[in-house]
Subunit: 254 residues, 2 copies
DNA sequence: GTGCTCGATTTGTATAGACAACTAGTCATC
DNA sequence: GATGACTAGTTGTCTATACAAATCGAGCAC
């Protein structure tokens, strides 16, 4: 760095702030953080340095950093959570629950790229409650599909689907080729289906769920139990969904 | 006030805050100020108690009050001005400058009640510059109309209009009956006119202007010089407008 | 009457300390 | 494996002091 204070060199992001130059320290910090966010130094959803870290980095008081963070929060650039930290804001997906709940449609409607990963396909005998919901006899085989749904590459929903095996025996093969459940059902002779009911609760995720959804084990997931039926009214799918904390909100329009 | 802390009596607005009850002091202060504004204790545009006064009133630190004020400012309820004080926010009028600039239309378009007061009507000989703009000979008489325009009863613009007396000799009588210049011009055979040009500057108001506009003498007013012409292209009015500080912003759409 | 200066007033910034409230991770226990 | 306790880490609130920056009004000079 030259001795010329008006030289062309740009200070690095962590460089000293300009004191007594007419721009409040907190504004300069806010500007730098905004720039770092815009340039991708901090990714959406990513955790920012702590207030103490930033205070040390910029050699200012923690309250000065807080003032800068409040500014960014007010502008929707960051999300501050007591006890957890500060995070780059990311848009929360509005997950509409209605007669035609379709993951890919919902995601595309919000200008994001839907994705899916089939985690596991297995077969098991239906226990009483599930059999009842599916309208089959207890003990009959069901295809269980565990699928992770992503938006823009980020996990959003962890779904467990149950299909009567007698009717949807081909699902495992179909899903190997294309992870779209809607497409697979079409191939099985169900060109359309609709949501009959959705029940919503919340709970803490299991360790495995937390890992798959890329979230903390201490933050609750929204849990849905849904029943989907075909045009004839037959139940085709009983599914459980677990929605990543802070990344989706369920929307029910009356 | 009864000894029962759960009694039905509501604390007066200036009553003590509830400490350690799970609601931050600054939130309680913000809520009370919001309530006072909503109930009309503080009128739009009115000055709020100073930070020091509020700190004393609520028995808190000045920074706690600042936090509350920042909250209200962020929600657009108040306007804080360094060195001047804090004021209840009032909507700033968008004063559109275009071919058909009409005060009453502009005000009504923003759901306010236009009003006007003729301050003075006089006659004088046109000096060189004015004569030139009006397209008359120097020394010819012009009718000078000083009008205060109000929105919802609050002064917004102080206008000085100059009309050629030979053509608009009836203006004084007409304006006595109805303070609408547009209506008076119609009665004088000018059913329509449009804005040819507007020049904008800013300066500090004179003491009289400040008083009429109900503002500080230290705050600049926006000043416009406008030329209005009739359908035949003849200049009908050369006017000066002085817009109250903080209450109007000129809007020019390209 | 006007403009300038100065003191008082008011908000804005920065630091500092202390403690509350919340969260996450670890570890022990069942 | 699940649960609860505990600890460390992180943000939130409140107070306090000091000084900067902006504004206002009074007084005075011209």
């Amino acid at each position: 760095m030259t001795d010329d204070p008006n030289g062309p060199e740009a200070l690095p992001a962590g460089g000293l702030l300009a004191r007594g130059q007419g721009v409040a320290l907190w504004r300069q910090i806010a500007q730098r953080l905004e720039r770092d966010i815009a340039s991708g130094v901090h990714a959406p959803g990513g955790r920012l340095p702590t207030e103490a870290e930033l205070a040390g980095q910029y050699n200012v008081n923690r309250h000065t950093v807080r003032r800068a963070m409040e500014e960014l929060e007010g502008r929707g650039l960051v999300r501050i959570e007591q006890g957890r930290g500060s995070f780059v804001a990311e848009d929360v997906v509005d997950y509409s629950l209605g007669p035609r709940t379709r993951f890919s449609e919902i995601i595309r409607r919000q200008n994001r790229e839907p994705g899916g990963r089939i985690l596991r396909v297995s077969e098991m005998a239906a226990e009483t409650g599930l059999a009842e919901q599916l309208g089959i006899r207890r003990g009959r085989p069901v295809i269980v599909v565990e699928r992770l749904s992503l938006a823009d590459g980020r996990p959003l929903v962890l779904g467990t689907h149950h299909f009567p095996a007698t009717r949807f025996g081909r699902l495992p093969d179909l899903l190997r080729a294309d992870p779209s459940i809607t497409a697979a059902l079409t191939a099985c002779g169900v060109p359309d289906y609709r949501r009959r009911v959705t029940r919503i609760t919340a709970r803490l995720p299991t360790p495995e769920e937390a890992e798959l959804l890329q979230q903390s084990r201490n933050r609750p997931v929204l849990v849905t139990e849904a029943v989907n039926i075909d045009p004839a009214g037959e139940v085709v799918d009983v599914s459980t969904g677990r929605y990543a904390a802070g990344r989706a909100q369920l929307v029910v329009e009356s």
